[in-house]
Amino acid sequence: MNPLAKPSLRSASGRLLRLVLLGGAAAALLGFAGWAAIATHLLATLPCQNNSDPLGRPASTLFILGAFGAFALGHVLGHHRDFRREEHLLPLAGTPPVVGRRRDRTSLLLHLALSLFLLVVVVLLTYETWAFWLPDPSPRWPITSFVRCADRTHTVPTLAAAWLVAFLTGHWLWHPLRRRPA
């Protein structure tokens, strides 16, 4: 008999897989952040001197196709979550979402973290707009140039970081839809 045919074993293995992938993603992101803080020192050299030309084939394609794959993988991982203990939190089938659902102690922390993330996106896009405001050639470096410089000088770590971002986005924003039977 296949051991994974047993629901408890299947949910336990799914949870372990999820813990490993999420923990690995967090550790990898921390590693990339540390590496970026201490090991990036190539901006004064080609190709970054000219505001960084974009990458060509096949690396550019690899970035995009890999990001799509990582996005889908993040979604698939959402199917392997153990929902038994939060069954009562799922919305009832055929009913609209209820405002003011029960909260636990992590709610405030998570809402703050999500707000911080969206705030970071707004700040970065504001900076990008400010950097592009002047006509070419602008003395300000937009974020695009920073990222393309990292693409060209540190292709593999940047590729891994882009895939990780796509994986987490797919896992968080493309979550499997679940409902309690009415």
Partner: protein
């Protein structure tokens, strides 16, 4: 490019990478903790939010996808890698 400009650019790249990667890392750690303690995951909370505000969720995905494409997908105009 002189040394001062290069130092400013390096600082910018480091700050950008740190802000983006550390923020995502914090969210991933929180999701890991939720899974470990069997609380509602970030994905579940996002799902509730996106079900309540589908236009915002769609907009967020469009922004993230557009940024990824803008940063990394430039095949047609790209010259070969420099020395």
């Amino acid at each position: 490019m002189n040394g001062e400009e290069a130092a400013i650019l390096e600082l910018g790249l480091r700050a950008l990478a740190l802000v983006v990667l550390v923020t995502l890392c914090v969210l991933a750690v929180l999701d890991f903790a939720c899974e470990l303690t069997r609380r509602r995951s970030l994905g579940q909370r996002f799902q509730t939010w996106s079900r309540r505000y589908p236009v915002y969720a769609f907009g967020l995905i469009v922004v993230i996808g557009a940024l990824l494409g803008h940063f990394f997908w430039q095949e047609a105009t790209s010259p070969p890698p420099g020395p």
